[in-house]
Amino acid sequence: MEALFATTTGILAASGLYLALRGRTFPVVVGLTLLSYAVNLFLFSTGGLTTDGAAVISDSAGHYADPLPQALVLTAIVIGFAMTAFSVILAMRVRGDVGSDHVNGNRVDEPREDKS
């Protein structure tokens, strides 16, 4: 189970990084989002993989999942959304101002869609 989890995290991180190294803004944003999923899973797993742990404190509960990584990842998810939103809208703004969606700001010739 541990190996399976680690492999999944690794594959997600690799896919995310590959996309983050692309030259256009949208794949980069998608790649960063994917990377943040991988990072969240990684951080979450630092508390160990607990099956059937109790979510709330009660006398009948046998064992608990480590709550600290959960709390950290919970905020990380929300902040990750804010980051994704900011970067994708930055990408839109750049396209509007520079006329290209290349991450290096190159004015590459691209077929201009007609203004309507």
Binding site: F5, T9, G10, A13, V30, T51, A71, V73, V108
Partner: protein, 933 residues
């Protein structure tokens, strides 16, 4: 308290001249002089006590964590320097008043001068190593301002820059040396350090500490090979040169040698490093003083030479040599300040300082001639003047030194040669300028005697040269003994200063020096011819060249590393991350740790396969962006399921809600961006990236596996134990978020709010093309808002609100909380926008989202501040159980109020992002819609 006054009064004095205007020069000079004058009186009041061996000290704790105290002392050594700094400083103020032209900004000049004076006083009185260093750097900075005072001149700017670079670099070395000493001794307190010579000398860190401290002292005192900055600093106005380069700035280096003498001296390293450096510098400076052509440059090199002499004396590891060194500091300050001032007078009245153009000035300025002759004779070591006394002491000391063993005779021989050169350049300075030949020609203006106020400071100093020279026992012994006591920390050897010691070897050497000087002067043309064989070396050009090369190199480095390509930056970041984490992975003996692994069930395997497949598909199909996005959402949903599977319901809920808003956001963005990514990466680039990504994934997976199979000591047990008793909640994750780590959460919602506001600004005046069809030319569907979705969503809305209220309220004790509730509310509202369009939703949700997000952050922060009112630290939570009729027992905690802030921020920020982005889609459309209708 009076010690603090001595330092702080001149600091106050640096503000006073700024109150005066440039026109009212008398008032400006008087205002400036007042503060150092009072400081001088305060010092004189302390003097009798210090002379009998008292050491007034005072200390305030300043930055205890750094060992930095605001601590001052006034021992004999400090007193000698304080009197020099304040006394000569006052003369300089008077001199500068009449020297500066109407075009110069006098208040600014005086302000810089006073700042410099303060920092000098701070150095000599500091009772703490770090404090001493602080003032040391302050002298570098203020001397930069003074040397570059005529900032319109290129030479002044370059000279100031060079002085700052050299002395500033030395200052950093000094700091490192002081920190080492502080670590050896365990304190930065001056007295403790001075008392710990045995500890310091025995420590292996002694040599590096010594080298660093000496680097600081030698750069400041222009010792070989750092002497080059001092002649370049002559671009400063003459009063500055007379102050900085005779009595103060360059003396800081030799002061440091005297100050640290009890702690660092006594070793072979000290003996060789300090005395040989001093000897070389003395000869080097004397030689160049003889051949230079500019009056001030001649004096600058002679200063270098004399500083070398003093340094050599401190290096000799003999008590009497230290006394001689201190005496020469005093004497050199008097005659060199006076000589600089005479050079300034000549420059002022003749318009040039070129010794080739000047001659026979005695006809025009007889008084100045007399003063210059007296002081130059003192510099040459002529009997009956103060320079003679200390020079003879120096010669006597060189005879005693154990340096160089069997070759010890070299030292007095070389010292005599240095004295011969000193006599020669002193003679040349006086004779070529004031005598020799008839009248000067080619001068810009006809010279005339300087006004009396300009000559007065020179007169005072010349009289001092004579008085100390004639009555050394009466005038200097007390001060010198006190200074030597402080510098040796043991009673100094008894001092018998007198003009006549009988016929002895040092007297013979003095006589040889004077006659030899005369002979060298007469034969100087041969020396000049000899010197012309060497190619001229312009130290300024070399230094500037080095600076230019450094700038060029850094520019190249920046251009290479920071070329504006995000891909390049990412590459570097990833490679460094790979190297760092790969190295540490190689450091562990086996990937698998000691923990046993759990069995994987089939459901889990299926989930993992789907997740991996979706992740890979997102990457491989990235050029078809919509499909890539759908695959990304699959990964997100799977992540949510993974969280649920491993006992994290809060995370699962959050991930689910965030996934929804993320996909909506990216879909909206994709509407404005190209639907497909053009194929442009070269095959080699793709191979490189695939390899890099694979390596990265491998490292991440290995790290994760290594981590999962090792036992972990978590602090979570504390949270689990105290969640109910301390935070009043059964949902530990939520209690951590709103209570234990509430400050973190406050920071995070602030970031969220800032991101929302940033996006709002980015969308403002966004110029975008509105695509009317997709990439394949098919027009967007005219049926804009599906009827079924519209009706269902409307009826869903109250339910969704209810659910979010429920999730919010139960958050403290069951999975849920402000984050999740906020996301649910936001999703419900966004559904309205999607189902009915922005127009429709705008009419019904007419409020702005920015204030909601800001209010959320404010509520959360105020909840934290509220605990101050009750005398608790920021964000302390309180809770209690209340009985409400009909509803029953309800638990209320202040953490809930905090969670309300989180809720509002999440709703506000999410809607600020999505609703504003949605508005962009319609900014052109409403009018068209109406036309069609």
């Amino acid at each position: 308290m009076s010690l603090l006054l001595i330092v702080l009064l001149p600091l106050l004095g640096s503000l006073l001249p700024l109150l005066s205007s440039n026109q009212r020069r008398h008032r400006c000079a008087l205002l400036t002089a007042a503060m150092p004058f009072i400081a001088l009186l305060v010092t004189l009041r302390e003097t009798p006590g210090v002379l009998v061996g008292e050491v007034p000290r005072m200390a305030f704790s300043w930055v205890p964590a750094l060992g930095l105290d605001l601590a001052f002392r006034l021992d004999g050594l400090s007193l000698l320097f304080v009197l020099l700094i304040l006394g000569i400083g006052l003369l300089i103020i008077l001199y500068a008043r009449h020297y500066l032209s109407a075009a110069d900004n006098m208040p600014r000049f005086y302000a810089y001068l006073m700042l410099f004076m303060t920092s000098m006083l701070g150095i000599v009185m500091a009772d703490n190593l770090i404090l001493l260093w602080m003032f040391w750097e302050l002298t570098s900075l203020s001397s930069f301002l003074l040397i570059g005072f005529w900032s319109h001149q290129s030479a002044a700017r370059k000279g100031a820059r060079m002085a700052l670079a050299v002395t500033g670099m030395g200052g950093l070395a000094l700091l490192a040396g002081f920190i080492l000493i502080g670590q050896i001794v365990g304190s930065f307190d001056m007295q403790t350090v001075l008392d710990s010579r045995d500890v310091i000398l025995a420590d292996p860190r002694y040599l590096p500490a010594l080298l660093l401290v000496l680097l600081g002292a030698f750069t400041k005192s222009a010792q070989f090979p750092f002497q080059f900055w001092l002649p370049q600093a002559m671009a400063a106005p003459t009063p500055v040169s007379a102050f900085l380069h005779s009595a103060t700035m360059v003396k800081a280096g030799v002061f440091l040698l005297a100050r640290m003498h009890p702690a660092l001296a006594g070793s072979q390293e000290w003996l060789y490093l300090v005395s040989l450096t001093g000897l070389v510098t003395m000869l080097f400076g004397a030689y160049f003083a003889l051949i230079k052509l500019d009056l001030k440059t001649i004096l600058a090199y002679s200063t270098v030479s004399h500083l070398g002499l003093i340094t050599m004396l401190f290096g000799l590891n003999s008590q009497m040599a230290v006394v001689a060194g201190l005496f020469h500091i005093l004497n050199h300050a008097t005659f060199k300040a006076a000589l600089f001032m005479t050079a300034g007078i000549v420059d002022h009245e003749c318009g040039t300082r070129d010794i080739r153009k000047l001659k026979g000035l005695w006809r025009y300025m007889p008084m100045t001639t007399v003063l210059a002759t007296i002081t130059a004779a003192s510099m040459a070591g002529f009997p009956l003047l103060n320079g003679f006394l200390s020079k003879e002491m120096m010669l006597a000391e060189t005879l005693e030194t154990p340096l160089l063993g069997g070759l010890a005779w070299l030292i007095p021989a070389l010292a005599t040669i240095g004295s011969i050169l000193a006599a020669a350049y002193s003679l040349r300075y006086v004779r070529n300028t004031f005598f020799g030949g008839n009248r000067p020609r080619e001068l810009e203006k006809t010279p005339h005697e300087a006004p009396f106020p300009l000559r007065l400071p020179v007169l005072v100093l010349a009289i001092m040269c004579i008085i100390i020279g004639l009555f050394p026992a009466f005038t200097a012994t007390g001060l010198l003994t006190a200074a030597a006591d402080a510098s040796l920390t043991i009673p100094a050897p008894e001092l018998h200063l007198s003009i006549w010691h009988g016929f002895n070897l040092p007297l013979l050497m003095s006589a040889i020096a004077l006659t030899g000087g005369l002979i060298v002067y007469v034969l100087r043309q041969h020396l000049f011819t000899f010197h012309r064989q060497f190619p001229a070396r312009d130290s300024l050009a070399i230094f500037e060249g080095a600076v230019q090369r450094l700038v060029g190199f850094t520019q190249w480095a920046i251009d290479t590393l920071e070329n504006g390509s995000l891909q390049r930056y990412m590459l570097w970041v990833v490679i460094s991350a790979l190297v760092v984490s790969g190295m540490s992975l190689m450091g562990i003996e086996a990937l698998k740790g000691e923990l046993g692994v759990q069995e994987a069930d089939p459901l889990l395997i299926v989930g993992a396969v789907i997740t991996c497949f979706a992740g890979l598909a997102t990457a491989f199909l990235h050029r078809r962006r919509l499909i890539s996005l759908i695959m990304l959402s699959v990964v997100g949903l799977m992540a949510s399921l993974i969280f649920a599977r491993f006992s994290a319901p809060d995370l699962a809920l959050t991930q689910l809600a965030v996934e929804v808003v993320t996909v909506i956001l990216l879909m909206l963005a994709l509407f404005f961006l190209p639907q497909k990514t053009p194929k442009e990466s070269s095959a080699s680039r793709i191979v490189r990236d695939v390899l890099l990504a694979a390596g990265f994934g491998g490292v991440v997976a290995s790290l994760n596996y290594a981590l999962l199979t090792r036992p972990l000591n978590s602090i979570s047990d504390y949270f689990l134990e105290h969640s109910v008793s301390g935070g009043g909640g059964h949902n530990v994750v939520n209690v951590i978020l709103v209570d234990f780590r509430g400050f973190d959460t406050l920071g995070e919602i602030t970031v969220l709010c800032i991101a929302g506001i940033g996006i709002y600004k980015l969308l403002n005046r966004l110029r975008l093309f509105m695509p009317s069809s997709d990439s394949e030319g098919r027009p967007w569907s005219p049926d804009r808002y599906p009827m079924i979705l519209a009706s269902v969503s409307q009826s869903l809305l109250p339910m969704a609100f209810l659910v979010s209220v429920f999730i919010f309220l139960r958050g403290h004790n069951a999975p849920g909380g402000g984050f999740i509730a906020g996301l649910v509310t936001a999703v419900a509202l966004i559904l309205m926008y999607i189902a009915h369009g922005v127009e429709w939703a705008q009419q019904r949700l007419s409020f702005q989202y920015q204030p909601i997000a800001v209010a959320g952050v404010a509520i959360a922060a105020l909840t934290g501040v509220g605990s101050w009112i009750f005398g608790y630290p920021f964000l302390t939570s309180a809770f209690g159980h209340f009985h409400i009729p009909l509803i029953g027992d309800v638990e209320l905690a202040t953490a809930m109020l905090f969670d309300l802030g989180v809720y509002l921020t999440v709703v506000g920020a999410t809607l600020m992002i999505l609703a504003n982005l949605g508005k962009v889609t319609t900014s052109h459309r409403p009018s068209k819609q109406k036309e069609k209708a």
